[in-house]
């Protein structure tokens, strides 16, 4: 495998979606290639930075409205 191809397989690799043969060839390449090792690490780091966007506080007014909606839903008669 050459670097130009390896970079395009990285998401499949991280998802465990490569065939056994392709995964072995991929890992062989990575083991001897500083550039692709760095690129894979960059993609992993990118993924984890994106994950940080999940942390966001619920605005107090919205939370209060939703909890109040929950209480009225709870008090409705159920079939």
């Amino acid at each position: 495998m050459i670097c130009r191809e390896v970079v395009e397989l990285m998401t499949d690799y991280l998802d465990g979606a490569l065939s056994d043969l392709d995964r072995a060839r991929f890992e062989d390449h990575i083991a001897g290639c500083k550039g692709c090792t760095a690129y894979l690490e960059q993609l992993r780091r990118t993924r984890s930075v994106i994950g940080r966007l999940a942390a966001e506080a619920v605005p107090a007014a919205l939370e209060a409205e939703l909890l109040s909606a929950f209480r009225s839903w709870r008090s409705e008669p159920r079939p």
């Binding site: 670097c3 130009r4 979606a17 760095a38 909606a69 929950f70 709870r74």
Partner: protein
């Protein structure tokens, strides 16, 4: 069928457990806001979408049969609400924004071909980020750049990267909730991550 950890959450919701509802609202607020922001123009409209999502969930909870996970069900509702809101508001959007370039299904290279030599090996290899301090990578400014990079992605890539990397769904769940093939899911995710990586590379240089 084996019990999932969420089965007890669902049972708590149905039993009217307010703390269980509040915990869900808090846990999914960030991911739901990112989903909503992909379709609407401002935070306040996105908050409306999130609110409408939860109200729809409450209205439909008694009919939820648990065929998908609770989380998949909630995000499926969010996508529907956000898309409906976009359709409603699209008459007000500038014409050009409806025709954004979309390379979501393309197999074109995601790394600039000039970075490789004729033999396909790196000519301009990527930097080693292991020396970049975590405090810099996770600074508010970096996160703002990443957020706006995601907002600029074509919708089909944006949905996938938000569900995978912000909401934390696995590949299978994303294919299901977006009704796309696993291959499509991976191509879109790969293009999206590569685009965000590029923005980070320019910034962290």
């Amino acid at each position: 069928m084996s019990r999932r950890p969420e089965d007890s959450e669902l049972a708590a919701l149905r039993a009217g457990d307010e703390a269980a509802f509040q915990a869900l609202v808090q846990r999914y607020h960030g991911p739901l806001m990112r989903v909503a922001m992909g379709y609407v123009r401002d935070r306040s409209t996105a908050e409306d979408v999130v609110q409408e999502t939860w109200l729809t969930c409450l209205r439909s909870l008694d009919r939820f049969e648990g065929r998908s996970s609770l989380k998949t069900w909630i995000f499926g509702i969010a996508l529907n609400v956000a898309r409906a809101r976009r359709r409603k508001d699209s008459r007000l959007l500038p014409f050009a924004s409806l025709f954004k370039r979309d390379d979501s299904e393309s197999s074109a290279p995601t790394v600039d071909p000039r970075r490789f030599a004729a033999d396909g090996m790196w000519r301009t290899p990527p930097d080693d980020w292991s020396n970049v301090p975590e405090s810099h990578v996770l600074s508010r400014e970096t996160l703002d750049r990443v957020r706006s990079a995601i907002d600029r992605l074509p919708a089909r890539q944006r949905e996938v990267i938000i569900l995978r990397d912000v909401a934390g769904f696995d590949a299978q769940a994303v294919s299901t909730v977006l009704a796309i093939t696993p291959e499509n899911q991976r191509v879109r995710l790969h293009r999206a991550r590569a685009a965000v990586r590029k923005v980070l590379e320019e910034y962290l240089r």
